[in-house]
């Protein structure tokens, strides 16, 4: 019991730290691709501290606050559902389906908070973000189905065990893994699928009224988001965590791929994103599914 509670506290903390490094990696990769130096090592943390140390901050109401709490808190809770080397948390109590829906809680919280800001730019951003979710979740659930079917379980711990005994999922279902990678781009909300942010058009959409610790909360959320995406993909396809060094390597590599793609693309319009997401990854997913289930 004590171990479990320790894990429950430790897992989000580890996730946050790793997530910060991932954010740093993203910014560094972006900078290097643009032939810049990029931010200093502690920049992600410094940004968060700065945001939280603002002296005059405005709130648009209780729901605005609760939105941020839900966004951060939801991710904190979700991290305990993701098994990492040595720590399973409560991964066996939910499984992949529960996790998928758990990950919607932070988004929903954010959406509520943004809604209360009474800024149409934010609402437009949320409408686009939700549409994007509709776009990438369809191939994503195909992938989830195929993976769960293949491993015969929805329990992430079991999946990891299976892969460590029988080889990585990416070897056995390469096409599904490809489709999964594609959707990862959408899940992480990076270019070319970040029309919902669109800084020059709708002033960063959901973030338009977020300043101070509100924005700081969103920066924390972003760290969690990167971590979650990386760990999830690793758990599904790359054998999960055997030990920390390989695990870290895997998740950083996983996250770096969408980021590298992101900095080479402009963005798609919402409808084009829908078409793209509903076409290629879905086709790949279905083929992969057919191969898995045949």
């Amino acid at each position: 019991m004590m171990t479990l509670i320790t894990e429950l506290f430790l897992m989000p903390l580890v996730a946050f730290v790793i997530g910060l490094f991932m954010v740093l990696m993203m910014r560094k990769i972006g900078a290097r691709l643009q032939r810049r130096v990029g931010p200093p090592f502690f920049q992600p943390l410094i940004d968060i501290i700065k945001f939280h140390s603002k002296e005059t901050q405005i709130s648009h109401g209780l729901i605005h606050d609760i939105g941020i709490i839900m966004a951060v808190g939801g991710y904190i809770a979700a991290e305990t559902l993701l098994p990492v080397p040595g720590m399973d948390g409560i991964a066996d109590k939910g499984g992949i389906i529960a996790l998928t829906y758990f990950l919607m809680i932070p988004s929903l919280g954010l959406a509520l908070g943004v809604g209360q800001c009474a800024n149409p730019n934010g609402s437009i951003g949320i409408s686009r973000a939700l549409t994007a979710m509709l776009a990438y979740d369809i191939p994503f659930v195909i992938v989830i189905f195929g993976v769960s079917w293949h491993y015969g379980t929805t329990n992430l711990v079991e999946m990891v065990n299976y892969q460590q005994a029988n080889g990585w999922g990416i070897v056995e279902m390469p096409i599904l893994a490809l489709a999964g990678l594609f959707t990862l781009q959408g899940i992480m909300g990076k270019q070319p699928f970040e029309i919902y942010v669109a800084p020059a058009e709708i002033a960063t959409g959901p973030m338009v009224e977020m300043g101070g610790k509100y924005m700081g909360g969103l920066f924390i959320m972003q760290a969690f988001q990167f971590y979650t995406a990386g760990v999830l993909y690793t758990t599904l396809f790359l054998g999960g965590g055997e030990n920390w060094p390989t695990f870290l390597m895997k998740i950083f590599i996983v996250v770096s791929i969408p980021i590298m793609i992101a900095y080479m693309f402009p963005r798609y319009r919402t409808e084009d994103m829908l078409r793209l997401m509903w076409k290629w990854p879905v086709i790949a997913g279905l083929i992969g599914l057919a191969l898995v289930m045949h």
Partner: protein
């Protein structure tokens, strides 16, 4: 006199009291008390919900040689619980200030209470039916009682109620035909006799029976392609009536399907039957119908600009999950389907009531004419928030649990496309409910709504209780799963082994108690982080980024219309309204034929006609 007799008698008394006392100002409270009494009797029968013996009614008739009997088993009890609970919530909602305002606006709250009582009575009769004849009698009674509730508002409600009753009669006639066939096959209308011969029926007979009964009952659920009537008919019903109808009325169709298709004929028979030229069995076909019922109405809901319509369309779509779960015929899936009946009733009632609380204060349910009400009606917002989380099937509310069970069973059964279809439905629901809560409660508060107050406690009470149930059964789904398991046993489905927190399985179970506890712990940490740093100041909504523009109260700075513009760019042209078209074609065709038929009476020359008739008659006889 058994408890069942007592229950139905009490329901009858409620009807009589409301009929005689509909002018009394306290009739709402009186009816609520009577419903509470019914609920109490139902609790006395609660042994049923935990696997107790069937309770028979002491009333038994024999008409035209057909014995009629009534009884309550676990399934009936489960549905009755939802029915009376929904009626109690609706009635309580209408009892106080809502009823007064309704009366001022020319409505008749007593009639509403009477309709509610009548609906409950008829539903109890239906649920208690112990043979096919009693089932049909109950079915028709329910249909017409709902008709009364739908039509009582007048105006636009009339045409929708007409549409409903036309569909409903069509359904009833299909059931009647099915009953006639059963009678022809077994020589009786008893459940036991049909169950006994179900194994020997030929495939063709099973197909015809399932289609007749299935479509008959499905019409009440609004399953495609019989879905066109429902949303409008429900939306036009006066407030609490909508909540009642939306939460339970259409589920009577599901009860019928459970009794006839699942219990009597048996899903096993449906699985055996292959449909030519496809890979599908009859059961699979029905599952696909259910899946399409999830998707199309959900995405129709997405386009609605009226909160009531939007929710009513979701009601249609959610029925698909129930069917999908039940037709999966597994312990997991069917428990998901059954539990969704309960869950849907709770959150749908909460949602409708909160919408009507807003309508009560603002006078409109138009999603383009509201906004920002969260500061004025925070409790209604809370109720709606709980409701939409439930409706969208996101943890920690109960809607997630039942949907999870359905997903999980589809996963185990290896039905990827149905799985994807059901998830698409959920995604569509999320989009649509966000639009609902955003356009009503979030965004900019309109100047004319700045003085609005929260709904009175008589309306808040049922809403809050309902949302509490939504949360608690999400936190501890085992509470509801006990009843579901008993109901499963009653209709002969495999019974789900469950715990208080959900399902324990080696291949990935679900323990909501843990998940929810951790989730709230996470929120707690988030709140700690948030509130421990930096002071904030609450500002007016006009202090807002608008690219440097000065916002003033007379400028509407709000995004509501055409909410998912990008999505509609992509899928907008997929809305072909084919079913509308089909319906109108059918009506036109009937009109055309009818024109010809009545033309016969306008233009026929009597003498010539007689000559023709004689010649034809003689020719036929030859």
């Amino acid at each position: 006199m058994t408890l069942l007799d007592g229950l139905i008698l009490l329901a009858l008394i409620s009807v009589l009291v409301t009929m005689l006392g509909y002018r009394l100002p306290v009739i709402g409270w009186l009816t609520s008390a009577l419903f509470a009494g019914q609920l109490l009797v139902l609790f006395l029968m609660s042994g049923l919900g935990y696997g107790g013996d069937t309770i028979h009614s002491s009333v038994a008739l024999s008409i035209f040689g057909q014995p009629l009997s009534w009884r309550f088993d676990a399934l009936s009890w489960f549905f009755a619980l939802i029915t009376i609970g929904a009626a109690l919530a609706s009635s309580l909602f209408a009892a106080g200030e809502w009823g007064r305002q309704y009366r001022q606006n020319g409505g008749n709250p007593g009639l509403l209470q009477f309709s509610l009582a009548l609906n409950v009575l008829t539903m109890l009769i239906l649920l208690a039916s112990g043979d096919l004849l009693a089932l049909f009698i109950g079915w028709e009674l329910v249909s017409w009682a709902s008709f009364l509730l739908m039509a009582m508002a007048g105006g636009a409600a009339f045409s929708w109620a007409m549409r409903y009753i036309t569909y409903a009669t069509g359904g009833a006639m299909a059931i009647l035909a099915g009953m006639g066939m059963v009678y022809q096959m077994t020589g009786s209308l008893q459940y036991a006799d049909l169950m006994a011969v179900a194994g020997q029926l030929s495939q063709a007979q099973v197909v015809i029976l399932s289609l007749l009964f299935g479509s008959g009952f499905a019409i009440k659920m609004g399953v495609l392609p019989f879905h066109l009537w429902q949303a409008g008919a429900y939306a036009e019903t006066p407030g609490p009536g909508t909540a009642f109808l939306g939460s339970i009325s259409s589920r009577m169709g599901l009860y019928g399907i459970l009794v006839v298709l699942v219990q009597l004929i048996g899903l096993g028979r449906l699985i055996e039957i292959d449909i030519s030229f496809t890979w599908l069995s009859l059961r699979d076909l029905l599952m696909w119908v259910a899946a399409i019922t999830i998707i199309l109405p959900t995405f129709t809901a997405l386009r609605q600009n009226d909160a009531r319509r939007l929710l009513a369309w979701h009601g249609v779509g959610q029925g698909g999950y129930m069917l999908l779960g039940i037709f999966s015929a597994t312990a997991l899936g069917s428990s998901g389907g059954l539990m969704h009946v309960f869950n849907h009733a709770t959150y749908q009632a909460a949602l409708f009531l909160s919408v009507y609380a807003v309508v009560h204060r603002t006078g409109t349910a138009d999603l383009n004419k509201l906004g920002g009400l969260v500061t004025r009606m925070p409790l209604s917002f809370l109720v709606m928030l709980v409701g939409i989380i439930g409706l969208a099937g996101i943890p920690p509310m109960n809607g997630f649990v039942s949907k999870w069970l359905v997903y999980r069973s589809l996963l185990i059964e290896g039905m990827p496309l149905l799985f994807v279809a059901s998830v698409i439905g959920t995604l569509g629901t999320i989009l649509s409910v966000y639009k609902l809560i955003h356009n009503m409660f979030l965004g900019q508060l309109r100047a004319e709504h700045s003085e609005i107050r929260e709904a009175p406690w008589s309306m808040m009470l049922p809403m809050l209780v309902l949302s509490l149930i939504v949360f608690i059964t999400g936190f501890m789904p085992g509470l509801a799963l006990d009843w579901v398991a008993a109901a499963q046993a009653a209709v002969g489905l495999p019974v789900l082994q469950h715990s208080l927190g959900g399902v324990e399985m080696e291949q990935g179970g679900l323990d909501m108690t843990w998940l929810v506890a951790v989730l709230f712990a996470g929120f707690g940490i988030g709140a700690l982080l948030f509130y421990s740093t930096g002071k904030t100041r609450h500002v007016n909504q006009l202090d807002n980024y608008a690219g440097g523009h000065f916002l003033t109260a007379d400028v509407r700075y709000h995004y509501s219309d055409h909410f998912y513009a990008g999505l509609m760019h992509r899928i907008g042209h997929w809305y072909r309204e084919s079913f509308q078209w089909l319906e109108s074609v059918l009506i036109s065709l009937t009109g055309f034929v009818a024109q010809g038929a009545s033309g016969f009476y306008r233009i026929v020359q009597p003498a010539l006609l007689m000559l023709v008739v004689v010649v034809l008659a003689l020719w036929v006889v030859r």
